[in-house]
């Protein structure tokens, strides 16, 4: 694994080399169980950030027997610094809708919804055109699957799948208690499969290439290709499709500006890797795969960076659970107090402990993941927190 170099991949954005919805057509000629099994074999994990094995999720969803089942494409791309889903929806929407349709066919669902963040409403006309194309082919293939678009209302938390479902039901976008999981009890109480835009696109690519080939990309732990939304101090900002499993040092060499001091992997909910760990950190192993990657050079204040993150979390927490609502405020106020000298340096350690409690006790991924960036920045850039 440590030999992995940075390798570009050309899978998700590869041009459409076959007739429209040909992958769907060919997949539908196979056995449903075989297809789900292929997904499991491919090692594909959810591309939204949580990294749940996609094949397993589909398998559970297929087992749910219900006349009404929903497939939701999570296009509420809200993580700061991520924009890869938008690019997919603009450039290869057919791959995304194919993935949804394959899921519908394999798992016996008839209703599909694309939950589009409100800021992407300008994509709706083109998406609707593509849906019309899909409808034509679905009719030809005898596939009963209706795809609709639902526009979100702009809260970060609605990217969390149960909050997303709540918001679709017209309620406050707040995460639910789990269990029950959406697979059993989701939108309107019906079995619901929620996958990220990139995951659905990747699913159709697994079906196109087969599990064995897809699995040959990446590392033993993370397979296939991954989109990176790159921003920050880089001359090559934009979306890059790479095989998983490169060292951060290779990544920095390719994309940095020569003065990189830290890389944020997996968005603000992910980890901040300092220069001294560039050589020993493999992207995609032990850290999240959300896709937002930010490069910081030595002109950046990491205090400002984490202050910015915390400001965001304190505002975007839904506010329902104690550790997340108040914890985010405490971390924010806490680093301000250390900076101003109101609290001693050692207070940073108390705050790290608090962030660990947030991880242990928060209701959803938002509060649970704050500690990732917070602990890594406080640990690695402690002097910047104080002086």
């Amino acid at each position: 694994m440590s030999n992995n170099k940075l390798k570009r991949a050309d899978i998700l954005f590869s041009s459409y080399s076959v007739a429209p919805y040909e992958i769907l057509k060919r997949t539908m000629q196979k056995d449903k169980d075989f297809v789900i099994n292929e997904l499991t074999e491919s090692g594909l994990r959810g591309r939204g950030g949580a990294g749940f094995p996609t094949g397993l999720k589909w398998k559970f969803f297929a087992q749910e027997e219900n006349e009404t089942k929903y497939i939701i494409c999570n296009a509420d791309e809200g993580e700061p610094g991520t924009f890869k889903d938008r690019k997919l929806l603009v450039e290869v929407p057919r791959k995304v809708i194919s993935g949804m349709a394959i899921a519908a066919w394999a798992c016996n669902a008839k209703n599909g919804i694309i939950y589009l963040r409100a800021e992407y409403n300008n994509l709706i006309p083109e998406l609707k055109k593509e849906i019309e194309v899909f409808n034509e082919y679905a009719k030809k293939f005898n596939l009963e699957f209706n795809v609709e678009i639902y526009s979100g209302a702009g809260a970060y938390i609605c990217g969390e799948e149960t909050a997303l479902i709540e918001s679709m039901e017209g309620k406050r976008g707040e995460p639910r208690n789990k269990p029950p999981f959406p697979i059993q009890n989701g939108y309107l109480g019906k079995p619901t499969l929620v996958n990220n835009v990139e995951t659905f696109a990747a699913c159709s690519m697994v079906c196109r290439y087969g599990a064995a080939e897809y699995k040959s990309y990446g590392t033993s732990d993370q397979h296939g290709s991954k989109l990176f939304s790159l921003s920050g101090d880089s001359p090559k900002e934009g979306v890059h499709e790479l095989e998983l499993g490169m060292k951060v040092s290779d990544f920095v060499e390719e994309y940095g500006d020569g003065d990189t001091k830290a890389v944020q992997i997996g968005g603000v909910a992910g980890f901040c890797i300092p220069r001294k760990e560039f050589d020993t950190t493999i992207i995609g192993e032990g850290n999240t795969t959300g896709g937002a990657t930010m490069i910081f050079n030595s002109t950046r204040s990491m205090y400002n960076v984490i202050h910015n993150y915390l400001d965001f979390f304190a505002e975007e927490s839904c506010g329902q659970c104690t550790p997340c609502r108040i914890g985010t405020q405490q971390l924010l106020k806490g680093i301000e107090a250390v900076k101003s000298g109101e609290k001693p340096e050692s207070y940073l350690d108390d705050l790290v402990k608090l962030s660990k409690t947030m991880k242990l006790t928060s209701k959803c991924g938002l509060g649970q993941s704050v500690t990732n960036s917070f602990s890594s920045i406080v640990k690695n850039f402690r002097e910047e927190m104080i002086y």
Binding site: N177, G319, T322, K333
Partner: protein, 594 residues
Amino acid sequence: MSKINLIIDGQKIEVEKGMTILDAAKKINVNIPTLCHHEDLCVAGNCRVCVVEVKGRERLEASCATPAEEGMDILTNTAKVRNARKDIVSLLVSEHNTQCTTCYRNTNCELQDLAAEYNVDGDRYLSVLKPNIKVDKSSWSIEKDDSKCVRCQRCVRTCAELQHVNALTVSHKGNEMKISTFADLPFNEVVCTNCGQCVNRCPTGALTERRYFDEVWEAIGDPNKHVVMNTAPSVRVALGEMFDNEVGTRVTGKMVTAMRKMGADSVLDTDFGADLTIIEEGNELLTRLKSALVDGDKSIKLPMITSCSPGWVKFIEHMFPNHLGHLSTCKSPQQMFGAMTKTYYAEKKGVDPKDIVSIAVMPCAAKKYEANRPEMNDSGYRDIDAGLTTREFGLMIKQAGLDFNNLEDTEFDSIMGQSTGAGIIFGATGGVMEAALRTAYAVVTGRSVPFENLNITPVRGTDGIRAASIKIEGTLPEWSFLEGVDLNVAVAHGLKNARIIMDEIAAGKSPYHFIEVMGCPGGCIGGGGQPIPTNADIRAKRTKAIYEEDMSKPIRMSHENPEITQIYSEFLEKPLGHKSHELLHTHYRKRNRY
């Protein structure tokens, strides 16, 4: 139900599938602290105080929201769990206005208890309490102080699930998240019914009843004022809880003594007002039935619905403003009592009504609002000058330095101090219906209702809506039009159930002639002004005490109350007569829907 096996703190236990870890632990007396949990309400799982460790899982689980699973190995008392709970309580304290000494809920606050239990260090975190939070004192009944709110959303769930009112809701997110009304309007401008169920379930002092005891003390201390206290049936079966008596202890005699010792000039029984209500409302029902059945008058609204519960009355005014004609025009017992205090009582006692201060001690928050409704002054004076909750009254007893549990039992004063068992049972859901049927049946047939000991058990119980049908047979000549009629009645309690009843009426599909609605779950014994906590078990015990009190009364039908006979012969002349209409009946108004 299938069973599952699990281990909690090393102890093996078998429970029903689907049970939460919290409830499973309760079964073996393992106490897990909670804050957002309330057994009347759906699971929220948002305070995270109840977290426990499940072996094999890194993260802690909220025990109130996590179903127990086969083979789970749960630890509720590890360093990891204790530290997490302490952190969470510390966070809640850091967001809280910790001026406990000046808080109405001081010593009866769930956050205070938790902070004490986990010995929370006040300096652990910085204060994130928002500055300049204004207390909303716009309502006659309820005060809302966001600086004491822990965002548990019990109030929101109460208002939505139990009451279907939705006056309270969550607004904003993150650090700005708070409990709010529609467009953050003041309480007195929104759809709030003042039922106070939110107050009763608030774990802290964020929602409290508006207090009036300072005004009451002032009146008592004024030698020129003649203070008349009257008290509702539910108070006497719950007040004891404020003094560590077992739930369901009847403290009628001690309560009367306490009022007298506090300095009331006259201690009377609202149950007299209840008996009066039965006479007026029973006659109103019979009149409506006659107009509808005999005269075929289409303008007569049936079913007729009771109007004793001011939370319910405001609910229908907001939610079903086009169906107010179904409400009985009778004032509630409290207001009837007040109107009689300022007229009949004043006359009999030779006191100038302007010097009378009438104080109602109620299990209710909405009664404060009702007392302040502008139209409630038909005698030229306010029917009721101040409404107190059971809780305020308990506090006043403490302020007076009375050793409540060792007070002797004494009787209510006269006049308007005598009551029947029928008046007593107004306190429990179904009671008004039962009392009305006891009297109406007797009036119409000259015989007692055909139930053993007059206990009309079909209308009793805890089901949200209960229906019954009573065949009227052997009528007296003037009521012959009712011969053979099946009188269909229904009882609903909790506004959620009231809505179901009203939806039926609005759809023109209601099969009933007469309906009793109480705004609060369980009726007045579960009122918003009752001691905290209130839950299903406590409601059941208070209800049992109400029916015991009923059975202990020598007279158990309102029309046999000698003081009632006396007030009609000396003052009111006849039910639904001129004076009744002037003093005992009222009207309603349409209100907004937000």
